[in-house]
């Protein structure tokens, strides 16, 4: 299987042959940053296009189909529109916090994005508590949302932000616990190690019942964490017009919008990494030739395809279910998901301790 380390090492050596060591580090940081930002933007565009097409398919419509082949350029046009839109100055807002909030949201999303192992040898941040860092980074986003709601000086925004706070803090627990279940199984918090240890079988198969329960809980909690339907209460259109980002315009709104889409991808990517083997190809023990063929498919394709399925499932939720009410939402978490998750964690510990997994 192709290892991206070859490419990165080659660039590294090339730079080292030209530049002194200190400059090499700086240059590499800048290069990686640029690549990361470009990838982030491209993912956002692809996801927005996918959402429109998927949503259209569910609703018996066509979706964008005028600009470019199959409407693919439509999203780019919308991005350009968003970039050149005026950012409206609003009276009576806390200007510092109001302008800061979207950046906090986008930075947290970007940090989490950079932890994801996209393909073999293609990880940006990879260290021994990687998954822990990812959770920590992604929860900073809630600060941005709370600030946005508070600084907007708008009652609807404030209600939306408060809902969002209650919701995200609650569902963080479920996300953390279901990730912990997998950490117990793999014995590592480093994302690359987690993926490597799934070479002989994905965790969803290896960890059978507890892993499957953890996956379902993770998917529900992940959907809630990204404020997507049926958990889109913080921006419930029919109740709060747009919730915490009601007052934002132009690219400031764009940041919230983009972050929401990429967060959805991050949730899907983490699900892929933890439960579905990350970029690992599908291997069936004993089927040597089948496994060899699977190995020919590049690891990046494997990863993106699996994530795409996850993203599709999350979109499917949104375009099918009606929205929950805030008390139902919190009841679901505290009375159902959390106890199930705790028991499941215990079950996983038992499974691992007595070596009951495959």
């Amino acid at each position: 299987m192709f290892d991206f380390k070859v490419v990165t090492d080659w660039i590294d050596e090339l730079l080292r042959s030209w530049l002194p060591a200190s400059l090499v580090n700086i240059t590499e940081c800048v290069l990686i940053g640029i690549c990361l930002l470009v990838a982030y933007a491209l993912f956002a565009l692809a996801l927005i296009y996918a959402e429109r097409k998927v949503c259209a398919a569910f609703q018996c419509r066509l979706g964008p189909n005028r600009v470019g082949p199959f409407g693919t350029v439509q999203v780019v046009c919308d991005m350009i529109k968003m970039l050149i839109k005026e950012i409206i100055e609003i009276k009576h807002v806390d200007r510092y916090l109001f302008n800061l909030a979207p950046y906090i949201v986008i930075i947290s999303s970007l940090l989490a994005f950079s932890c994801i192992p996209f393909a073999k040898g293609l990880e940006i941040l990879d260290f021994n508590v990687g998954i822990f860092f990812l959770i920590a980074a992604s929860s900073i986003g809630i600060v941005g949302i709370l600030l946005a709601g508070w600084a907007s000086n708008n009652k609807f925004s404030l209600i939306g932000a408060m809902r969002s706070g209650a919701q995200m803090i609650s569902y963080e627990l479920s996300i953390g616990l279901s990730i912990l279940t997998i950490v117990v199984l793999s014995g590592s918090m480093q994302l690359s190690t987690i993926v490597e240890s799934q070479a002989d079988g994905w965790f969803i198969f290896k960890g059978h019942i507890p892993a499957f329960v953890a996956f379902v809980v993770y998917l529900i909690a992940g959907t809630a964490e990204t404020n997507r339907g049926p958990f889109d209460l913080p921006e419930a259109e029919s109740e709060l017009t747009a919730g915490y980002h009601t007052e934002y315009s132009g690219m400031h709104f764009g940041f919230f919008y983009v972050a929401e889409f990429v967060n959805m991808f991050i949730v899907a990517a983490v699900a892929t990494t933890l439960f579905w083997g990350g970029w690992m190809p599908l291997h069936i023990p004993g089927w040597e030739s089948f496994n060899a063929i699977m190995d020919y498919i590049p690891s990046l394709i494997w990863f993106l395809a699996k994530s795409a399925v996850m993203v599709f499932i999350i979109m499917w939720f949104k375009w099918t279910f009606p929205r929950l009410r805030i008390d139902q939402l919190l009841r679901l978490e505290w009375k159902y998901l959390l106890p199930i998750n705790l028991c499941n964690l215990l079950l996983m510990v038992v499974v691992v301790a007595f070596d009951l997994h495959f």
């Binding site: 609703q59 009652k155 889109d232």
Partner: protein, 543 residues
């Protein structure tokens, strides 16, 4: 029966004058009006528990109010009127404590005629701004734009409302009531809000997520249609009815046409009755499908919204082919309909009757059976049968509370007496039953169409009427079952070619008046769900 009623009323109020017209009309002196109202409602032989329509009147020398009452149990009807000669400071007793629907109606009358209602808890104008000068529905109103210019500044929200109360010593005292305290967290839902389905404004006092109180502010789309009608000839007034509840445009116009035809003594051909009934039912189906769409969207189910619109389109195409209009059909006219039905109509309706049931199954599969939807709807916003009658909540919302209020059954018009259909009733009175009544009514309407579509008799599609239509002097009231409830038309004619007073009893106003009752102590999300399930249409509330 009428004699017993007359005697009873005279025994309560000896100086009442009683006339026998289409309805028994009783003129009551204001001083004993409240007493009579209480007795009429509570007496076991009378039981007038439903105030159908309340009309403010300006008779030149006197100002007054006409009340149409109906008993939901004994089915008889009566008309009451009270008037005062004091045009400077007219005051009449309020009956808002007897029939809750009078609350909003009296506020409307106050705004338009300047009659203050004694003991009414909230004497604000319902539709007009507080700084409006004069009373526009009075005959001597000065329409000079200098007096009421288009005001560009926002209206100040008053948290304190004026009232006039009768003290125990028999004197009138002006008091104020507080709606919202200073430290309450009051949020405006509307006038520009996706869930109010138009320019309606709720001022909602919140405690966290919980709604404490809802104050309804109407009038953002009030066009004064009733006043406009007073300067239009009868055929001209027809055009305005479609602009009330635009989703039951056809039924509204049906009501006005029937009222005028009845007053003129025109008997419309059988073919017209069939066509009108078919069109009524098509409109009802399209309105209920739209309800499904918007209600699902209010609860966050966005896909269901488009499913509904996809199927409603089929009805609109049919209406377009025959009437020329899609949303607003302009099809009924005095003495019949504008044009004969399109030759394709019968076939298209037959196709549609086959097409819709599988789609309804899909609706139920997508939304009704969903656990989240069920939890959002069941046991939320319970409207008891008593409250439904007292507030005058008719139509599917009333039938969701177990009140058999279908005008098609009570006073059959068109050919409803010849078709077989069930009046859908649910007794829980919650959001879910209001929703289910509408979904089941779609099936019933299809059933009605099935019976009618093959049997449309041959004949004229309209009778010839005189070029100038004048109604004989008198008062006429006629109501139909619109998609949202009982839509009534009251005409007082003085023999002219213009109506002296034309009042529309809109089903929307009672619907919006129960929002406070249902949504208090529920969550914000429930307020939206309740509003959606009541399915009011704002131009119908505001008129």
């Amino acid at each position: 029966m009428t004699r017993a009623m007359k005697e009873k009323i005279l025994s309560i109020v000896p100086d009442a004058t009683i006339e026998e017209k289409a309805f028994l009309t009783v003129s009551v002196p204001p001083i004993s009006f409240h007493n009579l109202a209480v007795r009429l409602k509570n007496d076991k032989d009378l039981q007038f528990d439903y105030l159908v329509c309340m009309t403010g009147m300006d008779w030149g020398e006197t100002l007054g109010v006409i009340y149409h009452l109906r008993s939901t149990t004994l089915k008889h009807e009566i008309v009451l009127r009270q008037e005062t000669a004091d045009r400077e400071n007219p005051e009449l007793p309020s009956v808002s404590d007897v029939w809750a629907t009078a609350n909003f109606n009296e506020r409307e009358v106050f705004g338009f005629f300047g009659i203050r209602f004694i003991n009414h808890p909230d004497m604000r104008r319902l539709f007009l701004r507080n700084d409006w000068v004069g009373y526009p529905f009075r005959k001597d109103y000065n329409t000079d734009p200098e007096i009421n210019p288009v005001r560009l500044e926002s209206e100040v929200n008053e948290d304190i409302v004026p009232t006039v109360e009768l003290t125990e010593s028999g004197e009138l005292e002006e008091k104020v009531h507080t709606i919202f305290e200073d430290d309450e967290y009051v949020v405006n839902i509307g006038p520009q809000h996706p869930a109010t389905h138009g320019v309606l404004r709720f001022r909602v006092s919140l405690e966290g997520e919980i709604v404490k109180k809802v104050d309804v502010n109407c009038g953002y789309i009030h066009r004064g249609i009733e006043k406009m009608c007073e300067s239009l000839t009868y055929p001209q007034t027809l055009a305005l009815t479609d602009r009330l509840d635009y989703l039951s445009a056809h039924m509204n116009r049906h009501a006005l046409c029937m009222c005028i035809e009845e007053a003129m003594g025109i008997e419309v051909p059988e073919r017209v009755k069939y066509i009108r009934t078919i069109m009524d039912e098509l409109t009802r189906i399209s309105s209920h499908i739209l309800f499904y769409s918007t209600f699902c969207m209010d609860l966050g189910g966005l896909t269901a919204f488009l499913y509904g619109f996809r199927d409603r389109e089929k009805i609109l195409d049919m209406l377009e082919e025959t009437c020329g209009g899609r949303l607003i059909q302009n099809y009924n006219c005095i003495g019949g309909v504008m044009a004969d039905i399109h030759p394709n109509l019968v076939k298209r309706i037959k196709d549609f009757i086959k097409y819709l049931p599988p789609m309804l199954k899909e609706y139920h599969g997508l939304f009704t059976g969903n656990i989240i939807a069920q939890q959002r709807m069941k046991h939320i916003g319970i409207l008891s049968r008593e409250d439904a009658i007292s507030y005058g909540v008719t139509g599917p919302s009333g039938r969701g509370s177990g009140w058999a209020c279908d005008v098609r059954k009570i006073h059959p018009y068109g050919v409803y007496d010849k078709v077989d259909f069930n009046e859908v009733l649910y007794t829980e009175g919650d959001t879910f039953s209001r929703y289910m009544v509408r979904m089941d009514e779609i099936v019933e309407s299809l059933h009605i169409l099935e019976q009618l579509v093959d049997n449309i008799p041959a004949g004229d599609y309209a009778v010839k009427t005189k070029p100038i239509i004048k109604l004989p002097e008198g008062q006429y009231f006629k109501s139909v079952e619109a998609a949202r409830g009982e839509f009534g038309v009251f005409i007082e004619s003085h023999g002219d070619k213009y109506p002296y007073r034309l009042k529309f009893r809109s089903p929307g106003l009672p619907l919006v008046s129960v929002v406070d009752l249902l949504a208090s102590h529920n969550k914000i999300a429930d307020l939206i769900a309740i509003g959606g399930s009541l399915d009011y249409v704002v131009p119908d509330i505001d008129r």
